[in-house]
């Protein structure tokens, strides 16, 4: 056996009942993710990308098949157990950042730890500070989301995803609302985290962004059509340096 498997997905199906019709969003998907991988999941809309993401994020359970997250079979868990799993094993990064308004960056980052009763007040604060420093926002603790730029807000969101030391960071179109330069900054941050051993699963429809990852899974009509290792991986920090400095008009 080689590396430690974080995700094991075997013949996963997800069906929705809409009236008297059955919509089959996922029609049998199998793949594994090893610790330390940077995986992008690509696909056009309607390909089952969002359904797969919800499943990976333990927000939803498969109708059929096996999904093992860090050796836990998700299908057998109750609603509250799923919540516990999300709290301890997954870090979400959303397209719309989803920070709590009128709440400081520090408090936003502390939030996941609030739902973990084993962590005390001081440890919570220390870890939130460390996470914010890891995303280079050490000077923005007391800023509320509306005092931060889009890129900064997304970095707060990444800090929030990091703070509970998850086994996997799950990003849903995390650069979708950002301009190219800021997207590259975020991707550069993601690559740094990956280099430090974090497993990242990044859902996107931009091939440009997928080029920064180590592996790409392509979905179409609820099936995997392509699963390739990325041999020609770009470095986001180099791409950033290569951008023309004409953005500040």
């Amino acid at each position: 056996m080689t590396a430690n498997k974080i995700l094991e997905i075997h013949d996963v199906k997800r069906e929705f009942v809409m009236g008297d019709q059955i919509v089959r969003a996922l029609k049998g998907i199998s793949f594994d993710v090893n610790a330390g991988e940077f995986l992008t999941i690509m696909g056009s809309s309607g390909s089952g990308k969002t359904t797969l993401l919800n499943m990976l994020g333990c927000l939803d359970k498969p109708t059929d098949g096996i999904y093992m997250l860090d050796n836990v079979n998700v299908k057998e868990l109750s609603r509250d157990e799923l919540a516990r799993l999300r709290n301890t094993k997954i870090g979400f990064v959303f397209q719309a950042y989803n920070l709590l308004p009128r709440t400081t960056a520090l408090e936003n980052v502390e939030l996941p730890l609030m739902y973990n009763p084993t962590i005390g007040t001081q440890e919570r604060k220390d870890r939130a500070i460390a996470a914010l420093e890891a995303v280079k926002l050490g000077d923005r603790f007391d800023h509320t989301p509306n005092q931060l730029s889009g890129g900064q807000q997304q970095r707060v969101a990444i800090a929030r995803a990091l703070v509970n030391e998850p086994v996997m960071i799950l990003a849903d179109e995390a650069t979708g609302n950002l301009d190219t330069r800021t997207s590259y900054e975020i991707m550069s941050l993601m690559q740094d985290l990956n280099a430090n051993g974090k497993t990242i699963v990044f859902v996107t429809h931009e091939p440009d962004i997928a080029a920064f990852s180590s592996r790409t899974v392509m979905l179409k009509d609820g099936r995997i059509v392509k699963d390739t290792q990325n041999t020609n991986r770009r470095s986001a920090s180099e791409a950033l340096a290569g951008l023309p400095v004409s953005d500040d008009y």
Binding site: N54, R79, F94, Y115
Partner: protein, 406 residues
Amino acid sequence: MKIINLIRLAIKALQRNKLRALLTMLGIIIGVASVITMMSIGEGSKQSINASLASMGSNMITIMPSSNEPGGARMMGSSLKTLTSKDIDALKEGAKNIAEISPLVNSSGQSISGANNWPTSIQGVAPGYLDIRKVVVQDGIIFSEQDVRSSAKVCLLGKTVVDNLFPNGDSPIGKIIRFGKIPFQVIGTLVPKGTSNFGQDQDDIIIAPYTTVQKRITSSIYFNQIYASAISEDASDAAVTEINSILRASHRLRDGQDNDFQVRTQAELMTMMNSTSSMMTALLTAVASISLVIGGIGIMNIMYVSVTERTREIGLRMSIGARGIDILLQFLIEAIMISITGGIIGVLLGISAAIIVPSMLNWPTVISESSIVISFFVCAVTGIFFGYYPALKASKLDPIEALRYE
């Protein structure tokens, strides 16, 4: 999430929408404040009625004329003509449970002393009246049985009459005043009794022998009322039975014929007045409680709005690990905070109202601890009851849909 963090969260959420929180609380505030005010007014009037009835003498018995004619024009009890001095004599002779007895004949008119005059009423009584009604002579003396027999033109004055007829502070004792055209010599003054429960000035009276009032003023052999006192409070009922049978005999009423008089004891009056005031209190409290319920519905309404408004926040909290119970408690505690804060403000307002009311409206109030405890408890229950459904709705949200909610 720990309760202390949930409470902090609720306080923060309310601080963000101060005006909204205050408006939501308003129903509760008004409800609690009015419940407490109403109950304290009710309790106060009850206590003052009891105190003043007791001060009139708890073993007092009142006999009033009444009509036993089934038809015809009904008349006011005191203008009916059934009680005479024959009844007094019969009662004095026959009733063993009666200590004192006095008729009452009253008339109103103008009292005059020198250049001063004052409209008042004169009460013709026997000397025993003072003992029965717990009226005390301040200066001077009470007239005697001899004065009654000789229809002496002597009188005692209440404080209001003294103040108006002798404004420069002269002692009225020994002076001659006139009531209408009849001159009376003032032989005493009465200790002030203040305002009665019915708002009547009990010091605005002149007391004189009933024979004098009957002969000189009313020109009638009938009494308006007869007052008696039982030998003890326990003997009241026996005394009433005696009075009934003696008066029926004296009035020659046949069996089956209704009484042409009414006998009331103080205890009966006390029960009657208390039941009236309890009923008023109950009614007012019921009205106030409705406002509490409306306040609760207001909380429910605003909590539903709040849940809808914060759907994305709920989705996010769930996606990072909040369980259903965490979300439920978050919103429930927020609702309870609203109702309890409203309750505290309401209690403070109610207490201040209960303190201010007596000085403004001259109504006595007594703040009962039970009303505070009850309304506070009701508040907490209101918060839980009306906050539960919105909170439950929030906790049942699907995180996937909540996250995508626009």
